[in-house]
Subunit: 254 residues, 2 copies
């Protein structure tokens, strides 16, 4: 049985607390947050610590706070030489204060307050400063998910950047498509089967192989018609840059 304490009350912390509470292999001893009332709907009052100096002894402390608070929160821990991890994609293990045995426990998923998450399919990337702690983290990650990866700090940084491209930026392109539809009285629903198919296709083809559209066909007429259509200089700029990037990628491939 692994004993765990979670520190934080944001989206990731809340989803983690919910998921850990449901595991038979894990004892979630306590959760601490600067604003403990944010956890009141998730845990009984006795399990919510308002004072960081009262934290119980546990096998793993998971700090799930905003990136710029990780260092500060970890420095306030009133003990040394215990296993302390953060959940940040873009922070090295050295982002945690020294004194404890450091590590990372990074669930690679987008978390929204109002959307349920099935943790069992979320890739969890683990890293430990000391080899002996790796198996502890792997055990916890495996209790939550089928997809556990050993990823060091440099790789995690790269992965986080790749995630921004394939997730945050992708979602923003959905937003721009939605705006174009709204401006022309077209229901956004028409685009949803296409969006689903594009995301599904990379399970069968590499994204380079799956590329379609006017840019990869070098269809200059259609590209020009699209640029003429786009009044908004901002969308025009994005259209031009991404079209160019597609063409450059596929020239390199040839």
């Amino acid at each position: 049985m692994l004993s765990v304490v979670v520190l934080g009350s944001g989206n990731v912390a809340q989803h983690l607390i919910k998921a850990l509470s449901g595991l038979s292999e894990v004892a979630l001893l306590q959760a601490w947050a600067r604003h403990p009332e944010k956890l009141a709907h998730l845990l009984p009052a006795g399990k919510i610590a308002a004072d960081i100096s009262t934290l119980m002894a546990a096998d793993i402390y998971i700090i799930s706070v905003s990136d710029d608070a990780i260092s500060q929160v970890s420095a306030r821990l009133p003990f040394a030489n215990r296993l302390v991890v953060h959940t940040s994609g873009s922070t090295g293990v050295d982002g945690l204060a020294s004194g404890n045995r450091r590590g990372a426990f990074y669930p690679l998923q987008t978390f929204s307050k109002n959307k349920e998450i099935n943790f069992s399919t979320i890739p969890i990337c683990v890293e430990s400063e000391f080899p002996k702690d790796y198996s502890t983290l792997e055990k916890l990650a495996s209790a939550l998910s089928q997809n556990v990866y050993g990823i060091n700090s440099a790789q995690r940084q790269a992965l986080h950047v790749a995630a921004v491209f394939t997730s945050n930026f992708v979602n923003h392109l959905y937003t721009l498509g939605n705006q174009i539809c709204a401006d022309n009285n077209i229901p956004f629903d028409i685009l949803k089967p296409l969006i689903k198919e594009v995301a599904d296709k990379i399970n069968y083809l590499s994204p380079v192989e799956a590329q379609t559209g006017p840019a990869v066909r070098n269809d200059a007429q259609t590209i020009q018609r699209h640029l003429d259509f786009l009044q908004d200089s901002h969308k025009k700029e994005i259209y031009t840059l991404l079209t160019h990037s597609i063409q450059q990628t596929h020239e390199q491939k040839l």
Copy 2:
């Protein structure tokens, strides 16, 4: 029973021929292609027309060729006053030669040669030059799909641009994410559950509501770390432009 002739042998034409061949409400009389051998695996020889002047009388002629060939192929049709449609997202009905009753039959999906498609969920956007032809096109579209929309030429142009943003450009962001993974010895598979979730989320939240990540959080430190990480000037430029676009969108929202 609707009788149909398909002209073309590209991805869309081939998927259409396959789908139409399986419908009890439709008689696919013939298909014509400049390179008839490309259709040999789909239809018996007797149904493949090599000579466009030998086309049979049909209720609907579907021209599914590259955008710049639509005008030319439609001008070669050896008859007048019949219902002739194209399948192009970025061409008005006036892209067809006059003389026949013109229309559009635009299945909004990404078609790849090596990936099967279930037509029943594909939105089909129909338009007819003459009102009396609309119900014929709607009948054909409804035989193929549950999602049929009346979309005029101006809307179809807008929709095609929106589809480029939400499909072609999205797929290219997958490609860039894949490159970053490959450069850092990270399996691209780690990103797949995230990609799936982002695409799925817009069924529950609007894309503006679903936006997460350093740009929308105005997390300047992480953004700077990501820019420092990206060596490739090209990816840096895309990162900067899309980050700025996310921030601009969400400022407008406030």
